[in-house]
């Protein structure tokens, strides 16, 4: 028996990653959707669907033909061929040889069957294939850390395993969701040339037009980082080396490539060679034996060895039987056709539809939001949306942007990216998708707008937050402006993206169309709702040339100006330089300071403009304010009073245990200046800062009560040294210092 056939068929691969580590799979082909929905199915229909999925994913029709009348459908179309035209740039001869010899061993779960009869044949094929390719354009070396972040953030881990170095932190008190879906192995990434891997990641569809590895829109830099991450354990220098084998060996390999039927699934140096494939004997699935050839437990002769396990063989048999007996099997309903498409492309890894699929809970923790305001969108913020009514929702043009074009993503707060699958494989399903999601009762909307140009004016008014507005901008941004509150989908591209009928359906009853949406039923029950929908549509169509709705934020309107007010302003906020319990003091003479009520000390002084309250007053994300002026001076990080054994003893650190500082609040004097009150052990302290002199500076007054000998004071200027406090007989003392 040839070497390649002697590999133990029960060889099991193990995913060694994270919480998903427990999921093992056989070296049999790993089609994720099959493992997820079909392997344990007892329902014969589900089983046949699983078999059909295997037939497309193993590309049975690459070699077989089907003569049953009426049974020709794209459901069993040949997969677009994987290009090996540049394979020699990606992989070394040795890597190709070992893979061809025992695909399932080298790349567990691969759909590539073993076709060679000996290591000699494998070597010849490798020699030929390694000769294909041209020099790869260099890419940056890439950062492993950046690559790790991108790999886990953009959605790779919907299908592939998270790295062992990026496990989700255990959340206290929550049992981790069980991982049940095996990951798609990363294949030969570790053996790729670095630049070739990066180039592959940028445009995987150029090599694999079947779209099973979609394009995530990585830039060169991102792709180099991800490649560096995927190859993080590879030590060897993998500068591309051009391989030139012996011409006669290359010719032998090329001849094998044709005669072994590789061209059923691959295209190499000469597309015309595909023609020779038609000369191959094609077994007819209408009459073929179901337990011989590829479906035999131990395939004999030259049958390709897919390393199928019994469940897979059984599912394939059931599907073929179904093809033979059920003339509708390959002429599915539109709904079923969408399901099959989503299974083939593994849309289910990210998206749910009809109660099936969506990101597996064990992986959901990797899906993040990029805008903290989106956390309160719940799963809608970080997880890709369900595709329930998508066929009647999106325009054809937008489908095109999403599936093969540019700029289709509309959720800027979501870290995961919608990948591209390629036009060739995805466009054919769109008609069925639209059909499947069609409403029983059609909705009509007048989008002509032209005779009703004033509708645009009304639509703008409805969008705003002024009287009579619906406040759409509370959640939806428009053009370059963020929403006032949570960051949901910006509305600028609405008319390009949504079919108007869907827009109307959604607005009239959001919960019915998108169960779980946070959108209130703003228009429901309004007597003029139908017209108002048309007004909104008209405005959104003209939004690029029209005024923004009233109420969208503009910075600058919320600047606090004590000089205009003519008296001091005391303002609590999160503040750069003074922390989360900052109390800022702005004075009309343009000298400002902030007290940190958490650390109980003066933290920062500055001059000129005071603060902008916009983020504190208006923005849900509550971004910290920052001093607007200049001469921003961070005061030294010590507190002002300590009990020391001597003046030379070390001054306690800010977070030192021991003397407790208790912040007690402040009171505002008749001049509007606050005095801060706190306790330090038995000492009661009033701490006040006032502008001092004409040219700038502050006078700080620290009044103490309850004092006893042994207390030291250290001023709030750099270089200030401790000095002992002298109390009067009543235990009082008043200290002053001048801050620059």
């Amino acid at each position: 028996m040839p070497t390649s056939r002697s590999l133990p068929s029960c060889l099991r691969g193990l995913i060694l990653f994270g919480s998903l580590a427990a999921v093992t799979f056989a070296a049999s082909p790993m089609i994720q959707v099959f493992e997820r929905f079909h392997r344990s199915a007892s329902d014969p229909v589900v089983d046949a669907e699983g078999g059909l999925l295997l037939m497309t994913e193993l590309n049975c029709m690459g070699c077989h033909r089907l003569s049953t009348p009426g049974q020709t459908s794209r459901a069993l179309a040949v997969k677009p061929r994987l290009s090996l035209a540049e394979v020699g740039s990606r992989l070394s001869e040795e890597a190709i040889a070992s893979f061809v010899l025992a695909p399932a061993e080298v790349k567990p779960g691969t759909a590539m069957p073993a076709v060679v009869a000996s290591s000699r044949e494998a070597q010849a094929l490798a020699t030929y294939l390694a000769s294909l390719g041209s020099p790869v354009e260099a890419v940056p070396k890439g950062s492993i850390d950046q690559g790790r972040r991108i790999y886990h953030q953009v959605g790779c881990v919907a299908c592939h395993a998270p790295g062992a170095d990026a496990l989700l932190p255990a959340i206290a008190g929550i049992a981790p969701p069980p991982a049940t879906v095996p990951s798609v192995p990363l294949g030969l990434a570790a053996r790729y040339d670095h630049a070739a891997l990066a180039r592959f990641l940028i445009d995987p569809l150029a090599v694999r037009p079947d779209g099973r590895m979609p394009s995530s829109g990585l830039s060169i830099g991102e792709a180099a980082n991800v490649a560096a991450y995927l190859q993080r354990e590879v030590k060897a220098d993998r500068a591309p080396k051009r391989y030139v084998g012996q011409p006669d060996k290359i010719a032998e390999g090329r001849s094998l490539f044709l005669s072994l039927g590789c061209v059923a699934c691959h295209v190499a140096d000469d597309p015309a060679a595909l023609l020779s494939h038609t000369a191959m004997p094609a077994v007819d699935l209408a009459t073929a034996s179901l337990d011989r050839g590829c479906l035999a437990e131990k395939p004999a002769g030259r049958a390709p060895v897919f390393s199928l396990d019994e469940v897979q063989r059984s599912a394939l048999r059931r599907a073929i039987q179904q093809v033979r007996s059920d003339t509708n099997f390959l002429n599915p309903t539109p709904h079923r056709e969408v399901e099959r498409f989503m299974a083939r492309m593994n849309c289910y890894a990210c998206h749910a539809r009809g109660g099936r699929g969506g990101v597996e809970p064990a992986r959901a923790g990797y899906f993040e939001v990029t805008d903290s305001g989106a956390h309160s969108l719940g799963d809608m913020g970080n997880l890709p949306p369900a595709l329930e009514h998508t066929g009647r929702k999106l325009t054809r043009a937008w489908w095109g942007k999403l599936l093969w074009g540019e700029g289709g993503g509309v959720r800027p707060y979501m870290a995961a990216r919608m990948p591209k699958f390629g036009r060739e494989v995805s466009e054919p399903v769109l008609a069925a998708w639209e059909q499947a999601d069609r409403r029983a009762e059609p909705i009509t909307i007048d989008t002509s707008g032209r005779p009703f140009h004033q509708r645009s004016v009304y639509g703008r008014a409805l969008m705003g937050t002024q009287d009579g507005g619906l406040g759409c901008i509370t959640c939806h941004g428009v053009r370059d402006r963020k929403s006032l509150g949570m960051p949901v989908i910006p509305l600028d591209r609405t008319v390009d993206r949504l079919k108007p009928e869907y827009f109307k359906e959604l607005l009239l009853n959001p919960q019915s169309v998108q169960p779980g949406t946070l959108m209130p039923p703003m228009l429901m029950g309004r007597p003029k709702a139908e017209i108002e929908v048309e007004q909104l549509w008209t405005y959104l169509r003209e939004v690029d040339q029209f005024m923004l709705p009233d109420g969208l934020l503009q910075t600058g309107e919320f600047e606090l100006k004590p000089e205009t007010l003519g008296k001091p302003i005391v303002f609590r906020t999160f503040l750069e330089g003074a922390g989360l319990q900052a109390i800022a003091l702005g004075t009309p003479v343009g000298r400002h300071a902030a007290f940190d009520a958490a650390d109980v000390r003066w933290a920062v002084t500055w001059r000129g403009r005071f603060l902008d309250a916009m983020t504190t007053w208006e923005e849900r994300a509550a971004t910290p304010a920052r001093p607007l002026g200049d001469a921003i001076t961070a005061l030294p990080e010590w507190r002002t009073l300590a009990r020391l054994s001597s003046a030379n003893a070390p001054w306690p650190l800010l977070n030192a245990e021991g003397v407790a500082y208790r912040y007690k609040g402040f009171s505002v004097g008749s001049d509007g200046i606050p005095s801060f009150h706190y306790e330090v052990g038995p000492l009661r302290v009033d701490d006040t800062l006032r502008p001092y002199g004409l040219s700038g500076g502050y006078r700080r007054t620290v009044a103490l009560q309850g004092g006893t000998p042994g207390w030291y004071f250290r001023g709030a200027t750099a270089g200030s040294v401790p000095s002992e406090v002298i109390f009067n007989p009543a235990g009082e003392a008043t200290l002053e210092e001048i801050l620059p």
């Binding site: 929550i174 305001g373 209130p520 609590r572």
Partner: protein
């Protein structure tokens, strides 16, 4: 300024009522997977006297009156916190609402979300502390901003709202704290560490320090007392909360949200570590599996009874607010409404029913309080999220006109079902039939995902009805009651002896416990 509900005619119009009924019906239908524009029968009557009217105040152009806390002063004026950090006094809340006078009392606070009068001074909760405000020189403006309680953690994440305070009859101060959702602020000068006690209720005894009391909250906006002086909190649907709850806050209890669990392991924690939480169980199953997990006293079924509960207030007006004395009223942000709650104790634990009360408010309801004349003042702001009431903020009154509305006044659990007490006797008590009362029960999933559909729904059979001799009470004898489940009641059209139709035909009882026959009065 007020265009939508002119004060000259603030009452519900027939159109308003139809609109209200229509949309509630549609939402209910959409939940059931129904179509776009249904035509189900409305429960609204054709005509009825108006029992409650809404009276919006005309507000100054500046500042934005995003009212987040209300305290009614002994002289009848109403003190209001605004979210931007100020306290204003509404000088004449009972006079012409178009001539409302406001004066600023305090400023520069950090997002205060509650206001209470205690021993003659105003107390508000800012993001990092409870502050006592005092006007010592009598010029109408506070000079003293005294920190009276602090010590919980902050990371600078926007969601770390802090609510309260309230003072219980023993003089203890209570606050509730949101969990952190999302990332900490990126901020120089801030020394981090995981923020302490997020998702907890905290209590400070007079003269003592603030201490953790109960855990498992998510976003417990509402904090207040019921008629007995017990402390209650509302929370928001989201992760770990399938719907919005009303919770009786008891020391040592864990109410369900996981983010507070790490702090249960601190020595100061009075709450037992509930251990690793299961996922995907129903709330009812989880309550029996998770140590210390206490279910809420009342669930507000999602969408049907609001989408995000906010402030709560107990009606102790001595009849000034109509026939709902000693009942609790709870605000809702998204649907801009006020709901009503009847509470009773069964086996020593509170449970009860919620009822719709007043919708179509101007903006997201945040807080309510009762004015001197027994009318309710409602503070509103929808900044950050949207609300059905599409003004950005508002302040209005809900006044009882003196007309008795025909409603289910109370819904009590009985050993074999429920006892409904109506505000007026039924018109035809002898003709009341079991099929006029449709009951079903359901619960929610307990899990880290956002929200939950109604789960494990089953019909409850109403076998027979018993009507009291005075025609005001109907006892429903049922089969299939399930402890722990929300029992949803829908009433057929019923008329009162005065010819009124039911104002609302729905009630939702959270039947945590079924009373034992020997524990109830006949």
């Amino acid at each position: 300024m007020i265009t939508r509900f002119p004060s000259s005619h603030p009452a519900l119009t027939a159109g308003d009522r139809r609109r209200h009924a229509g949309w509630v019906r549609l939402v209910a239908m959409s939940l059931a997977g129904s179509g776009l524009l249904g035509t189900a029968r409305s429960a609204e009557p054709t005509a009825r006297p108006v029992a409650y009217e809404r009276i919006p105040y005309t507000l100054p152009a500046e500042p934005k009156f995003e009212v987040s806390g209300i305290a009614v002063l002994p002289d009848g004026r109403a003190a209001l916190t605004l979210r931007k950090g100020e306290v204003w006094i509404l000088e004449n809340p009972l006079e012409d609402p178009t001539k409302a006078r406001f004066s600023r009392f305090a400023s520069g606070l950090h997002e205060p979300l509650g206001l209470t009068l205690h021993k003659g001074a105003l107390y508000t909760t800012q993001r990092s502390e409870v502050t006592r405000l005092e006007d010592r020189d009598g010029d109408g403006v506070a000079e003293t901003y005294e920190t009276v309680a602090k010590g919980w953690g902050l990371s600078g994440n926007y969601h770390e709202y802090a609510y309260g305070p309230v003072f219980d009859p023993a003089g203890n101060l209570w606050v509730t704290l949101n969990v952190t959702i999302g990332n900490p602020a990126k901020l120089s000068g801030h020394r981090g560490g995981p923020p302490l006690w997020r998702g907890w209720a905290m209590r400070q005894e007079p003269g003592g320090d603030l201490k953790p009391v109960a855990a498992g909250f998510r976003s417990p906006f509402g904090l207040g007392l019921n008629a007995e002086g017990d402390v209650f909190a509302t929370d928001q649907q989201g992760n770990w909360w399938g719907g919005c709850p009303l919770i009786h806050v008891k020391p040592g209890r864990f109410y369900g949200h996981a983010d507070s669990i790490p702090d249960t392991r601190r020595p100061e924690s009075p709450v037992q570590d509930p251990g690793t939480l299961p996922q995907g169980l129903t709330v009812v199953e989880a309550a029996s599996r998770v140590p210390g997990l206490t279910p809420p006293a009342v669930w507000f079924p999602y969408v049907k009874m609001g989408q995000s509960t906010t402030g709560l207030v107990c009606n102790l007006t001595g009849g000034g607010f109509g026939p709902f004395e000693r009942q609790v009223f709870v605000g809702d942000f998204t649907l801009s409404q006020v709901n009503r709650v009847f509470l009773e104790k069964v086996d020593g634990e509170y449970q009860g029913a919620c009822f719709p009360f007043m919708d179509q408010l101007q903006s997201a309801v945040l807080q309510m309080a009762f004015l001197k004349d027994g009318s309710m003042i409602v503070g509103e702001s929808n900044r950050g999220w949207n609300s059905l009431g599409n003004r950005s903020y508002g302040l209005e009154r809900i006044r009882w006109t003196g007309q008795i509305p025909f409603e289910v006044q109370t819904m009590e659990a009985r050993p074999e079902g429920f006892r409904l007490t109506f505000t007026e006797p039924l018109a035809t008590p002898l003709l009341v039939r079991p099929d006029q009362f449709r009951l079903s029960s359901y619960t929610y999933l307990y899990h880290a995902s956002y929200g939950s559909p109604e789960t494990d729904t089953k019909p409850v059979e109403v076998r027979s009805v018993k009507v009291s001799p005075d025609g005001r009470q109907v006892e429903l004898l049922c089969s299939g009651l399930r402890p722990g489940y929300v029992h949803e009641l829908t009433l057929a059209p019923l008329d009162s002896i005065t010819g009124q139709a039911l104002r609302y035909d729905r009630a939702y009882y959270t039947l945590n416990r079924i009373p034992r026959p020997d524990a109830v009065s006949p």
